[in-house]
């Protein structure tokens, strides 16, 4: 086709293409609707660029293999949906605890349990933050368009390498299966972050000694550093410790490396907040309907603003509070029973009324439904 720069792509396809552009060369997965196209495309495209695809026996093994691939020095990813995301939690926690970069795509479908496999939902929002045991920090990004799915996947890999943390691309069936025009950039225009390698001589490298940002450097297995990785709480040398001070440092660092760098990690779209009485706070596929509703409201002369977190974890308490404090209400439409609304309520500190607009019928929220909620405020 002549107009090469704009290509029709499905969300799942954009994710895979974004991953390839970010340098992903190892994919381990297990099929599950509605994420399966990502695996299928990985199987087709990876060997063409010299990468490798493996279909593992289950999601637990997929997550494990991704961690292994990453330690072997290859940017690695997996994709799944609800039930598979639940299964990955233990090894996802391992990756977090071991500061191991990787990207996990969750194309959300409706739960709980097997749920409605082909229906859109946003029900894994809190699970993305708290699904594994113990305390940790994590990054989760949420695209609202196919094009954004492409770019956020690249960003997911970049953040993952920069902060040595698994990054969740928490998308949904709406985005995953929608087709839109994506303007594919020239690879040279992309910013692709690479893993920071140690500079210390081999004998002296401390594999978990943080830099100023709290992030250690990471050699590849095979580079000759002969380091140790464990799921036990470990000191900077990588070996298990129960020294209370070192334990405290180790555990807090996992959260602090995210929260301390939140301004670098966090992204949100804000529209017409300044003069607004009401803010519609929405993310992912639902944000499309919300943005339309906001336009419709503005057309009706209502002063409504729009806040769309693109990074949903970490949650930027301060920025959100600034955006909503003193407003008449903040309306939070989402395809779940108010999971994002909990967070907004938490940071609102009573400075505004938090109105969840929830939908769990297996269908998406419509602009009309959101507009109705807007109009109901007073």
């Amino acid at each position: 086709m002549p107009n090469q720069s704009r290509v029709l792509m499905q969300g799942n396809e954009a994710i895979l293409e974004g991953a390839l552009a970010a340098g992903m060369r190892f994919y381990a997965g297990y099929p599950i609707t509605p994420s399966t196209e990502i695996a299928e495309l990985a199987a087709e495209r990876l060997p063409k660029v010299g990468g490798r695809f493996i279909q593992m026996e289950d999601e637990i093994a997929s997550m494990a293999a991704v961690v292994g691939g990453s330690l072997a020095g290859v940017k690695s990813m997996t994709a799944t949906s609800g039930p598979g995301f639940s299964l990955k939690q233990e090894n996802l926690g391992y990756a977090i605890h071991g500061d191991i970069p990787c990207v996990v795509i969750n194309v959300q479908r409706m739960g709980p349990s097997t749920g409605l496999p082909t229906s859109p939902a946003q029900g894994d929002m809190q699970q993305a933050r708290f699904g594994s045991h113990g305390d940790y920090g994590i990054i989760a990004l949420t695209p609202s368009s196919v094009s954004e799915a492409y770019y956020l996947t690249i960003r997911a890999f970049n953040l993952s390498e920069q902060f040595r943390v698994p990054v969740i691309l928490l998308t949904d069936e709406v985005i995953g299966h929608m087709r839109e025009a994506v303007s594919l950039p020239d690879p040279s225009e992309l910013t692709v972050a690479e893993r920071r390698k140690p500079t210390a001589p081999k004998g002296e490298h401390k594999p978990f000694a943080p830099d100023a940002k709290g992030v250690p450097t990471l050699p590849n297995f095979g580079d000759g550093y002969r380091f140790h990785v464990t799921g036990l709480i470990h000191a900077e040398d990588g070996f298990a410790t129960s020294n209370p001070k070192l334990v405290d440092q180790a555990v807090r660092r996992l959260t602090n490396k995210i929260t301390d760098n939140i301004d670098e990690i966090y992204e949100a779209e804000q529209r017409e907040i300044a003069d607004a009485d009401i803010v519609v706070f929405s993310y992912g596929g639902t944000a499309r309907a919300a943005r339309r509703a906001v336009r419709m409201a503005r057309e009706k002369g209502l002063k409504v603003g729009f806040y769309r977190p693109i990074t949903i974890w970490p949650f930027h308490d301060e920025m959100v509070r600034n955006a909503i404090a003193g407003k008449k209400a903040v309306i939070i439409p989402e395809l779940n029973l108010g999971q994002m609304a909990r967070e907004v309520e938490r940071v609102a500190h009573g400075t505004t009324t938090v109105i969840p607009v929830t939908k769990v019928t297996g269908e998406i929220l419509t602009p009309a439904e959101i507009l109705a909620a807007i109009e109901e405020v007073r």
Binding site: P47, G50, N91, V229
Partner: protein
């Protein structure tokens, strides 16, 4: 002066991590040494070899070995190892696992690694018990034995891990005991040379839990007993199932090379790059 044939095992250990946490008389140290000796025999580079383990007393081995090492989650060592091998097939990948780790929670990864014939050498340190968690029975605990979760004796039939792994597709399968450490070294050496999935069941002793609970005496008594109940492959061939009851067959049980998985994937790459597929 080195004794002829003596292997400089210390070179392969992280000596600053020793003494290890294993109990007095625990067989895991003996098997670990056999592995180290085999690695030396084959001449694997310390910089290009990765030791992967799960969770369990046995799985603590990785921390003591001077290679790139990863102590993963319970039962998943082979899945992590598969990722390592697939992402960089140049690495030598060795998995150290326990009977619980490999065959209880990790059973699925074991049979699938065997099926794929991926280039991993898997050494299962089988002490017939969950040592780390203080003595619950494992899928290899013999029937009627006592364990903390089998106070009336185990009723679960036990796995013949070698048979299982062979049926699943492994290309090299051997069994030895700690008391036969030199044979074990030989099997592991051959396993490391096999380009595919190799499985070695190393029967060893947990005097602290399995031994004490079942009144089997000290570590050496347990080792002796394991040796006494062992039958070589050749002898076993002439024995009836009844005669083999309560015995384990030791030796190289299966050796049938076939294409290694990561190498097969090279052909996928070649095909894809020649524009094949779909």
């Amino acid at each position: 002066m080195a004794i002829a044939g003596k292997i400089p095992t210390r070179k392969y250990l992280r000596q600053d991590r020793l003494p290890h946490i294993w109990c007095p008389g625990c067989g895991h140290g003996i098997v670990m040494q056999a592995l180290v000796r085999a690695i030396h025999n084959v001449g694997l580079s310390q910089d290009k070899t990765v030791i992967v383990s799960g969770i369990g007393c046995s799985s603590r081995a990785s921390g003591y070995m001077d290679f790139d090492t990863i102590h993963t989650t319970h039962g998943r060592a082979l899945a992590f190892a598969t990722g390592i091998k697939m992402a960089n097939p140049e690495l030598n990948v060795i998995v150290m696992t326990g009977d619980g780790d490999a065959s209880a929670i990790g059973g699925n990864h074991l049979i699938h690694a065997a099926r794929r014939n991926i280039g991993i050498t898997c050494i299962c340190l089988n002490n017939n018990i969950y040592g780390m968690t203080s003595g619950q029975f494992s899928p290899t605990t013999p029937e009627c034995a006592l364990a903390t979760t089998a106070p009336y004796g185990v009723i679960d039939p036990s796995f013949d891990l070698c048979k299982l792994v062979q049926a699943a597709g492994a290309s090299y399968v051997a069994r030895g005991t700690a008391m036969q450490a030199r044979m074990l070294e030989k099997y592991i050496t051959n396993a490391l040379k096999n380009d595919g999935f190799s499985f070695i069941e190393a029967i060893d002793q947990c005097p602290t839990y399995f031994g004490r609970k079942n009144k089997l005496g000290d570590a050496y008594a347990m080792m002796k007993r394991q040796q006494e109940t062992s039958v070589s492959v050749s002898k076993a061939a002439a024995m009836t199932p009844a005669e083999l009851e309560g015995k384990q067959v030791v030796g190289e049980l299966w050796n049938s090379p076939r294409p290694e998985y990561a190498k097969s994937y090279d052909q996928v790459i070649a095909k894809a790059q020649q524009g094949g597929g779909r």
